[in-house]
Amino acid sequence: MNLLINLLGLALIVGIVWWFWLSKRAAPAAVAPAASVIMVKDGVYEPERIQVPAHEETTLHFLREDPSPCAEYVVFADLDVSAQLAVGEETEVKLPAMEAGEYPFACQMQMYRGTLVVA
């Protein structure tokens, strides 16, 4: 019984590490076009990966449905761009032209997280 509980505990730790770090890197979510409305709700951006053309200015559209303070801002730290998202309103966020690559974006508390895929 003791061994079983310990094995279960260790399996749980391995599961946490795998699910939140390893599997996430292995299988990124599908990429959505920049024109999509990004829903801000229940702790996630949907879609969370956004395809953006390289070397072109882009506008993203966020619709925040989560009234909690955590969802209040979206921060593109690498681009030094951030915006306050109004509740129940579509907020446009203008982004500068970027080099190809992946740029993370997040709420100010790093809970909501998404990725810009610039190609």
């Binding site: 730790i13 979510a29 229940d42 996630v44 909690s68 955590c70 109004a86 509740v87 809970m111 997280r113």
Partner: protein, 744 residues
């Protein structure tokens, strides 16, 4: 889609029948709760869970045109505040409900100590309590569970994950005790329903307090938004008509009466008045405005009526630019936050691992009842950990700090500039326009005859000159109400001065070289000239009909507060160096008067940049204060560029810090504010780190050998709820910041 309000601009609606048609069409769109048409303003307001395109289509099918109206910043902020209020009330309500169940349960446990299941009757009683707790978990904390589940599916973990795991584990264990107590040892048949309910209640209460405290952090932008007037008085065909400010066009002529706010930027056509610009510049003294002067939207017309032309409207006004800049800066990150960002990114899964490890430690090495202890430590670890405190530590302080700066006429471009301004060791200051007024003025007139007559003659001569010093002499004569005569045979002699004839007198005005060339003896004026040069003034000899008649001295006067500002900056520990294109003697004289030890004179713009680079190469953290236009290379090279120029458009576009008032005190204000903000950020980060570093081990049972008891999950919940509120409240302390100039 959530319930929201959308506003559409209508085209073609002109009567009550149109109103009915449009309202009927809109009310048939799926999701519309209520549609209202305001014929006077030609707008339709729609409430409900509705798609904007569907509404536009419905209006078009009814035979009218429509487009989604753009919402002004002010309206957006109002909506935001309404949403926050609604969220606040909702959180309070949920907190009240959860605590209404949790508190009596907790009291029962404390008073009777009967929180275990040993008999069928207890199973039924606690089973009912369990169901009531489940209802509370679903109604008051359902959003934590849905958020956690959604985040989990996306391989993310958030605050919701910790709360859902903590409360869910406590409830599931308790229900296991109720349903199958025989599976657990006698000592471990304890229920924790009160912990689940109390934690949900306390976290909702904490979030409510946080929402309320956060509302105060954006007070500065609220104030700026309130400066924007909603209507303007426009002249149409000779009549004054009140129109919404959004309809004012470039070139419109507007009337602003005493006591009214200036609605848009423009230039005065008629009238004169005192205008209070303190809300934009921090300058307390009202400024006199007359024909040709510039007016800024948001400033207050005090005592006269002004007619002016609209030159910048909407988002182009200086006020709109300031609001935009403040909002952007408030949202920006400071480099010091990077560590917290990196930790926040892995925080929740790490806490989950710690919770499992703590449970295993208690299972393997802890005293009986091991299962109960495992549950308590795992739940407490999950609940006490607070990534929110880490995440909020920086943005809250930046928001308040940047807003506070705007209140004092200090516009900070971003968080990076705010942080770097706190570390400056050297400040290089441009002389002209920064330490001085930037406009030469006549300072001395020395003659053995009539001063006014000499001034009349030389000013009449200088009318024909385009030299800046000539302008100062003509202005001095006009200020004294002296009527000028016509000049004849005017001649400008390069690097010497000017000559001409006024009222039959042959006049010379220029330097010693001119007088030597024209054989005018000026030896007895030599000592006075040297004394004036020692004060940083440019002295010119005047000769009438071949004889020395006197001296006229011109200087760019020092700003009245330059000396006190330099002293203040020195008190802040900065080394001050002066940069100027002027000659060495004048520069040294100015530096001596202001108490500046190091002077770099006779510089070209690129020289200024090189000096900044040299200082940086020697390890200095260099700030540069200039007018934002001529000093662009040096301002860009410096770690922080302070543009002093009453917020010209160019400065707002390029400088790290724009000072809305033309005073070096603004630089001192900015540095004091940045230091106060950084101190506040460090306090917040320290508090958040220490809270988690101490809280998690204590929750895991570190103090058990000393205290003989484990931390209650309820206490952990209360601590977590308070940690975010503490961070926000500490950031709000920055609102009390006052520059030392005001305190002095």
């Amino acid at each position: 889609m959530i319930e929201s309000k959308k506003v559409f601009t209508l085209h073609g609606a002109s009567c009550a029948s149109c109103v009915n048609k449009i309202e009927t069409a809109l009310n048939q769109v799926p999701g519309v709760i209520q549609a209202r048409v305001n014929l006077a303003e030609k707008i339709a307001s729609v409430n409900g869970r509705v798609d904007a395109d569907a509404c536009v289509l419905a209006i078009e099918q009814a035979g009218y045109g429509a487009e989604l109206a753009t919402v002004s910043d002010r309206e957006l902020r109002e909506q935001q505040r309404e949403a926050d209020q609604k969220h606040y009330r909702d959180l309070l309500w949920r907190a009240g409900l959860a605590l209404a169940l949790g508190l009596p349960l907790m009291a029962w446990g404390l008073i009777t100590g009967e929180m275990s299941v040993h008999a069928p009757a207890q199973q039924i009683a606690w089973g009912l309590v369990g169901l009531a707790t489940l209802a509370v978990l679903i109604y008051c904390g359902g959003h934590f569970f849905t958020g956690a589940w959604k985040a989990f599916r996306h391989h993310n973990a958030s605050m919701d994950t910790l709360i859902a795991l903590g409360t869910g584990t406590a409830w599931l264990f308790s229900m296991l005790v109720v349903v199958a107590p025989q599976l657990l040892p006698e000592m471990a048949r304890h229920v924790y329903f009160e912990a689940s309910a109390m934690i949900i209640g306390l976290i909702n209460l904490g979030q409510a307090l946080e929402v309320r405290a956060r509302g105060r952090t954006s007070a500065a932008v609220e104030k700026l938004l309130q400066l924007q007037d909603v209507s303007a008085r426009v002249l149409h065909n000779g009549e004054e008509v009140d129109v919404p400010v959004g309809e004012v066009q470039l070139g419109d002529r507007l009337r602003v009466r005493p006591g009214e706010k200036i609605p848009v930027d423009g230039t005065v056509l008629e009238g004169s008045s005192l205008v209070d610009e303190s809300m934009l510049t921090g300058e307390p003294v009202p400024v006199k405005k007359a024909q040709g002067d510039f007016l800024s939207a948001g400033t207050l017309n005090k005592n006269g009526s002004l007619l002016f032309t609209a030159e910048k409207v909407g988002s182009e006004t200086r006020l709109a630019q300031i609001i935009e800049m403040v909002k952007n800066a408030q949202n920006s990150r400071v480099p010091i936050a990077r560590l917290a960002d990196r930790i926040s990114a892995v925080f929740v899964p790490v806490v989950m691992v710690i919770a499992v490890l703590a449970a295993l430690v208690w299972f393997n090495w802890g005293p009986e009842p091991k299962v109960a202890h495992m549950l308590v430590v795992a739940t407490s670890v999950l609940i006490i950990a607070c990534p929110c405190a880490l995440g909020l530590a920086t943005p809250m302080s930046v928001m308040v700090g940047v807003g506070k700066g705007a209140e004092h006429g200090v516009l900070v471009r971003n968080g990076k500039a705010l942080q770097q301004a706190s570390k400056l060791t050297t400040l290089v200051v441009d002389k002209t326009g920064t330490l001085t007024e930037g406009a030469p003025k006549v300072t001395d007139l020395e003659t053995e005859g009539d001063k006014d007559e000499l001034l009349r003659l030389v000013a009449s001569l200088e009318q024909a000159s385009e030299h800046p010093l000539a302008e100062a002499i003509v202005d001095a004569a006009q200020e004294r109400g002296i009527r000028l005569s016509t000049v004849q045979h005017f001649e400008a002699i390069i690097a010497h001065g000017v000559r001409g004839e006024v009222d039959g007198h042959k006049l010379l005005l220029g330097n010693r070289k001119l007088m030597l060339r024209e054989n005018v003896d000026v030896d007895h004026w030599q000592a006075a000239v040297e004394a004036l040069a020692g004060k940083g003034r440019t002295a010119m000899y005047a000769a009438i009909d071949g004889k020395a008649a006197g001296l006229i001295a011109v200087a760019d006067p020092l700003r009245s507060d330059a000396r006190s500002a330099i002293q203040r900056l020195k008190n802040l520990g900065l080394e001050i160096q002066m940069l100027t294109g002027d000659n060495g003697a004048t520069a040294e004289a100015v530096a001596t008067q202001l108490g500046i030890d190091c002077v770099h004179a006779e510089l070209l713009p690129e020289d200024k940049e090189n000096i900044v680079a040299d200082l940086q190469a020697k390890g200095g953290h260099v700030g540069m204060a200039g007018d934002g236009i001529n000093d662009a290379p040096a301002l860009a090279r410096a770690e922080v560029g302070f543009a002093i120029g009453a917020g010209t458009d160019v400065a707002i576009e390029t400088a790290d810090v724009t000072l809305m008032r033309s005073s070096l005190h603004g630089v001192a204000d900015a540095i004091e504010l940045s230091r106060a903000t950084l101190r506040n950020i460090k306090q917040n980060l320290f508090g958040a780190f220490i809270y988690n570093i101490l809280g998690i081990p204590i929750a895991a049972g570190l103090l058990y050998p000393i205290t003989g008891s484990l931390l209650s999950p309820v206490i952990a919940g209360a601590a977590m709820a308070l940690s975010s509120v503490t961070v926000v409240s500490n950031a709000n302390r920055l609102r009390l910041f006052k520059p030392s100039e005001i305190n002095a």
